[in-house]
Point group: C2
């Protein structure tokens, strides 16, 4: 009998799985035994700053440990942290901590099996081929950026062929690039190949030229051969954890690869998908991008993590947490608040429970997950398990394909950030940026309104000023960037950086 | 009993070996069983152009297959090809061909296990830390380049912080960078760490500042944790092949990691090390850098590969092949000419043998190794095996440490390229470049003359014009670059590029 083991190979201390192959096998063998796991989203309050996590990964790990302890076959799917950021010391890794840890966090944090390096090489190779196309007269402007896994603020604005051509460029962080998005959204190597061929390399006489017009696609898929395989590791308690695909829900789509989630659903009854930074970033993107437009499974439950201090110590921002919980409940997703306590906060449990009660939340799950791991959760999960087991499989959400870009932006502002359409502001230049994107799409034979909307924003804010009174909050639309291969259109909002390339600090 | 298996783990279709750990184990357990294999160098005639190989890897693979067939335990150590160059289509892979192939050439050619990506990230992270040091006033000029695995001519001259600071930079090809050299030359992670700490990051008020002064070294070694492990694969006939370390004997040191060769010598009786491009590049560097200055084993025999056409079809360059063979014989290395035939050249064997005889060569080994693999070699190796088995272990060569840089350059020009000292020319600016390097070294507390000389040159030429008559050939010294961490000083010669960053073609 063919099993997942036939698609699995050891790769040092982790395993790599040929998920494309396994899912193809299941499609071709509809009678082969497989599970139909439900997706649970672990997301969070909007963080006070990007470098301060609420504990989503810690929660995810503790949650699957607790579910497994309760006899439920649960696994987690995590995004691969950006090694550049971790290695530079700008933030900690993203692999849990304390009793809610992975067996080999250092592998996850420090480059895993070279996936990011492969994507970096492949995207940079595309740029080199575009330069060659310029030399050959097939292209006059390049629109695809080079990438670097390592942050460096000075790379936000660069010039190549300096002293002669002085061609201005920018370098973006590898995990945020279009090729990473393509890997995240594709369900086969053929789809990757097709999407790369549709990537707009640049323009010739103002008209879009795609990579399919001049690149041998096998060169790119050759580089990605191992990178497309999810890694499998486990928690210190033996719960399975899959790691695959890029982070950065602020400046990109910030979700794990769809194939890794679907594979996990075929293997386990509950699949916990981590979606951060906050609900306004990772969860919004899972729901409105992955589920609405790319056929991912609508979550059967959600957990919204916060720290006691994030929730309550800054009164001006205290509206955000209940807003997130309410938004998910309104989408018919049973949503459980989870407060991840830090050392010395145990005495706050009664008051936190009282606040949750006042706000009309479900009974909150509270624990020091770093200290106590899944043990802290086991007795608190009755309601959660009940919602999961007795809820019906969710219906397919409505697609926004065909909705005008600005309408889509307004819809997201209203639904995900609480700002009504009339307070969505166009920054000078935005309308021109939309027109330009529209022309570019037309010249490539696609419609801008059929691309999926990706909000590019700061992880720590939803509006131009989250501290303003509700009726004064605005969202400013700044500029537009087309990722035709991935099928996405990025719109920069509010205080977003125009180039996703952090400074090391 | 502890064996190499205890240091080996599966990594997809190849294995990775903790060579540092195994060699440490052998040092600490002098009675543990191990072999004392002899090193054989497979090198080549100077190629007519860089993209046209003579067939060194094909020969290396056929040779170990033939030796194993003769009952001799032989393994090969190959350098990891540069994926960027291969994927860009600028040259074929470097993993043999036809019957002289590896089981999984695609792995070797397409990024192996992410080693190059890790080195790229680590070297680029060093540059980012140097930028941070500038912000903090610890540094005012950066001397370490960023790297890219993917070739792109426009990266030879770049500017970062463009539009504001306009800081000129260059980007070099990852496999040629100082961090790759450090990995190639180091025998432990501690040595890597120490060498990185001695790398000159840049200057402050004209004085050298090293990375040890401001970087947490564990961040760099963390990234390199898997990259330092040699990969093990095999030929289609089952002979063991280790792959580790960067190529590019033209612009860098172009040798596999010393630890991979030493590990192979502890495991096998004969270890074939591929050293290319030609004898003037790879072999010169194995002998004069690895053996003379870094304690590598002097070869017990050498094979110099050529193609019939390279050797004889260009009369002006026909002096090079016998020059190489003679140079190695003069160094007491039994040297066997090997002519790698292509389709349709079988009838040339008698005339090739006659030419070899005229030139006073040992009996040449001749075969179509792509078509026939090791089978073609088995009956021709009596003399080679005899030289290997009956030769004594070679003596340690003399170090050139303390020899003035220019004397060293003249010594190499005379011995490796056949150009006497009086025809070594200083290009305008060279003397100033030496003085500057000397001052830089002094300010770092090291002596320029204790660094090991690395010739940076075109792979296809040894002199300013190899076609000139012997008595008119010159070598021009152009400029100097210090790699204090690796312990090397690069000197650009003749027609070398000043930045190792090819254009894709």
């Amino acid at each position: 009998m063919t099993t997942i083991e036939d698609f699995t190979s050891q790769y040092g201390l982790v395993q790599k799985i040929d998920a494309f192959g396994y899912m193809k096998y299941l499609t071709e063998n509809p009678d082969a035994p497989c599970k139909h796991g439900k997706v649970v989203l672990v997301t969070a309050d909007t963080p006070l700053k990007a470098s301060r996590g609420e504990g989503k990964t810690t929660t995810t790990i503790a949650l699957i440990d607790a579910l497994n302890k309760r006899g439920i076959d649960a696994a987690a799917v995590l995004r691969q942290p950006s090694m550049g950021i971790t290695a530079a010391g700008s933030k900690g890794g993203a692999s849990g901590g304390g009793k809610a840890s992975l067996t080999h966090p250092e592998l996850i944090d420090w480059g895993l099996c070279g996936e990011m390096g492969a994507i970096e090489a492949a995207q940079n190779l595309l740029v080199s081929f575009a330069e060659k196309a310029i030399d050959e007269g097939k292209l006059d402007t390049i629109l695809v950026p080079r990438v670097s896994e390592v942050p460096s603020r000075s790379l936000r604005s660069t010039a190549v062929d300096y002293g002669k051509g002085n061609v201005p460029e920018k370098v973006v962080l590898t995990p945020t690039c279009e090729l990473m998005q393509i890997m995240v959204l594709s369900r086969s190597m053929d789809e990757i190949s097709e999407r790369v061929s549709k990537m707009i390399a640049g323009t010739k006489d103002g008209k879009a030229v795609t990579f399919g017009e001049f690149v041998d696609l096998w060169r790119i898929t050759g580089i990605l051969a191992d990178a497309v395989k999810p890694a499998k590791t486990e928690t210190v308690n033996g719960s399975p954890v899959y790691v695959h695909g890029g982070p950065f829900a602020n400046v990109s789509i910030g979700i794990p690869t769809l194939v890794s989630v679907e594979m996990a659903c075929a293997l386990h009854d509950v699949v916990v998908v981590e979606a951060g930074y906050g609900t306004d970033a990772g969860a919004q993107k899972w729901l409105d991008i992955a589920c609405r437009e790319y056929g991912a499974q609508w979550p059967s439950a959600a957990i919204v993590v916060t720290r006691a201090s994030t929730w309550r110590d800054d009164p001006e921002l205290a509206w955000r947490y209940p807003f997130h919980v309410q938004r998910l409940e309104n989408l018919d997703i049973p949503t459980f608040p989870l407060i991840n306590l830090w050392e010395g906060e145990d005495d706050q449990v009664p008051s936190l429970q009282a606040t949750a009660d006042e706000l009309g939340f479900r009974t909150p799950i509270v624990g020091n997950l770093f200290r106590d791991g899944g043990e802290a959760l086991v007795p608190q999960l009755d309601g959660f398990v009940d919602a999961l087991q007795n809820g019906s499989m969710p219906a397919e959400p409505h697609s926004h394909k065909g909705m005008a870009l600005t309408e889509n932006a307004k819809w997201v502002a209203e639904n995900a950030y609480g700002v009504p359409a009339e307070r969505v502001i166009y920054k000078p230049g935005f309308t021109e940026s939309v027109s330009k994107a529209m022309e570019l799409c037309q010249s490539a034979g696609i419609s801008l309104d059929n691309l999926t909307f990706v909000a590019v924003k700061s992880p720590a804010t939803m509006t131009d000023n989250d501290r303003a009174p509700e009726e004064e909050r605005t969202v400013t639309l700044k500029k537009v960037e087309v990722h035709a291969g991935a099928g996405l259109v990025h719109v920069n909002l509010t205080t977003s950086l125009t180039t996703p390339m952090p400074k090391i600090v």
